[in-house]
């Protein structure tokens, strides 16, 4: 086939979207939406990297901060939520050997997250609404700097994403507990209790050995989903609060901003945000590592019961860890700084360290293994968190935070290495693993491109984090603009690393499009020919 024919019809014309089940189509839609928004986030990131090297004539300061506001939200909600939710809506029924509770609700989740992300991104792009994701009160309601209309549309976009998130939560728990038509009645309460870890806790306290009704990866998904739900509630509540001020401003009424306590607001907001950053991400990632390790090796997970317990501990930790974001807030009580900010946060080193160890030992037990792309990216993801979590533990220290808070150290070696290397490479591992299952056996167009994707993502992610971190240790702040070339060598090197990330993503995207073909990508969004509840066609 010529390159043009492959671009249209996919690698050897193997991809036949008409043969896909509704479940496969739904999952692939999530993946496509997630990858498109990952592309958005990478391009936004590159624009900011370039701006830190030299001001871009087409990017004003207001536009720069609008990009800075949208960038993490597009990355987390538009990309990561889409890919993770799509994968889990496929994997929960796959692992539980029962149909998804509602494919229609799953498709609505995809549409709301994809649509909501576009709405808040467009609001930021057009109106430069830029209070950043941290939204420190009363900045989001500072209408001397930001457009009220732009802010209102921005918040509505976030609300759409949160409604989609709520649909995902409902679908996951209903799938775990419901009884499909024609099946014997399922023990709903016991299944949910097992998924949440309550039955395991009861075993621990009573010495009984009741069998776990759901597998470990499903338990991880269910527990991470608790944090997802709580976080959606916090963000929705916060959005409504901001909307009250915006609607009042639209009617010409200026509400008193001091009615909301800025420190209380900050505690509330970080409590909610850490349910994602320190709960959901770590729990979902650990669960995904365990699933990938068992699927790659075909072996039972090493120390499975401890792994379950660690997931439960991580859930509790995620509810009590938020104060490490307020170590530089002098009005924050010292006991919260020490207990929540330092000590509870240290548990993340333990839970994530154990997940790292358990995954490696499980892989080791099956050696020799072929270095497949799922294994390669899984090891990259493990390395990413092994680098990023200790970096986070260091800044969650009262003494060190005094000289690290809001520097590039926080956002480089910790945030970007965790997200770009740890989280994203874990997700890529899952995508490479699920790709043939979701496409009924389509082969990758090019293994060379996939190998380049791996090295570009790994070296670009670690490199960018490292150079940002070096600048941070020299005093470079995040969330500001330096116009006198103060940290130029680091910013040039970080920019080159970012370019590598961009090239890696383009190679991956091109590889996937050439594998499926443009007709195939369009076909994913056409309604499925059959209404089967099976995950994959019966012939597979």
């Amino acid at each position: 086939m010529s390159m043009l024919e492959t671009l249209v019809a996919g690698e050897r014309g193997l991809f036949k979207p008409a043969t896909l089940t509704p479940m496969q189509k739904m999952t692939l839609r999530f993946v496509v939406v997630g990858l498109v928004y990952y592309g958005f986030a990478v391009i936004e990131g590159m624009l900011m990297r370039a701006f830190q090297v030299t001001p871009l004539p087409f990017v004003s300061h207001e536009q720069y901060f609008a990009i800075l506001t949208a960038h993490p939200l597009v990355g987390i909600f538009g990309s990561t939520y889409s890919i993770v939710f799509g994968a889990f809506l496929f994997l929960v029924p796959y692992l539980m050997k029962k149909p998804l509770w509602s494919v229609r609700l799953g498709n609505w989740t995809c549409a709301l997250i994809g649509g909501g992300t576009f709405v808040f991104w467009a609001a930021g792009f057009l109106t430069h609404y830029a209070p950043l994701y941290t939204l420190y009160w009363p900045l989001p309601a500072d209408f001397t700097q930001f457009s009220v209309v732009g802010g209102t549309v921005f918040i509505l976009g976030i609300a759409l994403v949160m409604i989609g998130t709520a649909f995902f939560v409902v679908n996951v728990y209903m799938t775990i507990g419901y009884t499909p038509a024609g099946w014997d009645r399922q023990p709903t309460g016991a299944l949910i209790a097992s998924a949440l870890g309550l039955s395991g806790l009861r075993n621990l306290l009573t010495g009984r050995k009741t069998e776990h009704l759901v597998s470990l990866p499903v338990a991880a998904i269910a527990r991470g989903t608790v944090d997802t739900a709580l976080n959606a509630g916090v963000i929705l509540f916060t959005g409504v609060l901001i909307l009250v001020y915006m609607v009042a401003a639209l009617f010409g009424v200026s509400l008193k901003q001091t009615a909301v306590d800025a420190l209380l607001y900050k505690n509330w907001f970080w409590w909610g945000l850490d349910l994602v950053a320190d709960g959901l991400v770590l729990i979902f990632v650990a669960g995904t590592w365990y699933l990938l390790a068992t699927l790659i090796t075909g072996k039972k997970l090493y120390m499975e019961n401890v792994a379950r317990a660690a997931l439960f501990v991580e859930l509790v930790v995620s509810w009590t860890v938020w104060s490490h974001h307020l170590l530089s807030d002098q009005a924050q009580p010292g006991i919260l700084k020490v207990a929540s900010g330092e000590m509870v946060t240290a548990f993340e080193l333990i839970t994530q360290g154990l997940a790292f160890f358990i995954t490696l030992v499980t892989l080791w037990s099956a050696r020799p293994l072929k270095m497949t792309f799922p294994l390669r990216f899984l090891l990259g993801g493990l390395l990413g968190f092994a680098l990023a979590v200790p970096a986070g533990i260091m800044q969650a220290d009262i003494g060190l935070n005094r000289i690290l808070h809001n520097t590039q150290w926080v956002v480089g070696p910790h945030v970007h290495v965790a997200v770009l290397v740890g989280l994203t490479m874990t997700l890529y591992s899952a995508i490479y693993l699920l790709f043939p299952i979701l496409t009924n056996g389509v082969q990758l167009y090019s293994e060379k491109l996939a190998r380049f994707h791996f090295w570009a993502q790994l070296l670009g992610g670690i490199g960018m984090g490292a150079f940002m971190g070096m600048a941070g240790l020299q005093g470079m702040l995040r969330r500001t603009i330096y116009s006198s070339g103060e940290f130029m060598p680091y910013m040039v090197l970080a920019g080159l690393s970012g370019l590598l990330l961009l090239l890696g993503f383009l190679a991956f995207f091109y590889n996937i499009v050439m594998s499926l073909g443009l007709k195939g990508v369009v076909g994913i969004f056409v309604p499925a020919a059959s209404d089967t509840k099976e995950l994959v066609p019966a012939a597979n």
Binding site: A331, L349, V361, W364, H405, E486
Partner: protein, 189 residues
């Protein structure tokens, strides 16, 4: 030996770089070995629990070590019980710092309290050396007391800068060379 933030940051740079290189080497070695023939022997639970104990020791000891070696850590937690030798009351409003004097002077060894009040948004307050490296920072939250107690151990001239994003208008919140510290045995550098 006087420990200041640049020394702490160098220590951190060395420690984290050594750790990063070691963990990259371990994962690289693992990736190489896992594809080679060999018996996939199990790991005993003793090794597993030893590793868990090692993580606990690492997580807790970091804070114990820093509390006992970084001078500003205990000073910060106990500042409510310490009487400062000098206090500077600073206000912030509409993206501008208002200082009690054009230049704030203090002497080495003095306990200096910076008390910063915001009248509108959340800001940051940080002191930076001439080479742009940070001496310290804190958040400045409206409606609350934002104070930091600091003992300067060497002469220097420092720039005040907001360390928290407060909208695009906040990037110019810089008061150059606003703090000058002199020591009895040396002039400000």
């Amino acid at each position: 030996m006087k420990i200041d933030s640049s020394m702490v940051l160098w220590g951190q740079t060395l420690a984290y770089t050594a750790y990063a290189l070691a963990i990259i080497a371990v994962v690289g070695w693992f990736a190489h070995r896992i594809t080679r023939d060999g018996e996939g022997r199990g790991v005993t639970s003793a090794i597993f629990y030893s590793f868990a104990g090692f993580l606990v020791v690492c997580g807790v000891s970091l804070h114990i070590i820093t509390y006992n070696t970084i001078p500003w850590a205990p000073l910060d937690l106990k500042r409510a019980t310490i009487t400062p030798d000098r206090t500077f009351a600073i206000t912030v409003a509409q993206h501008r710092f208002t200082l009690p004097a054009p230049k704030l002077h203090a002497a080495c060894g003095e306990k200096v309290l910076f008390n910063v009040t915001s009248e509108d948004l959340t800001y940051g307050f940080g002191l930076f050396r001439q080479d742009n490296s940070m001496l310290f920072q804190m958040q400045v939250v409206p409606g609350h007391v934002n104070d930091i107690l600091w003992v300067f151990d060497r002469p220097g001239t420092y720039t005040i800068r907001s360390t928290e994003y407060s909208g695009p208008a906040g990037i110019g919140m810089i008061e150059r060379n606003a703090v000058e510290i002199t020591c009895a045995d040396g002039a400000a550098n």
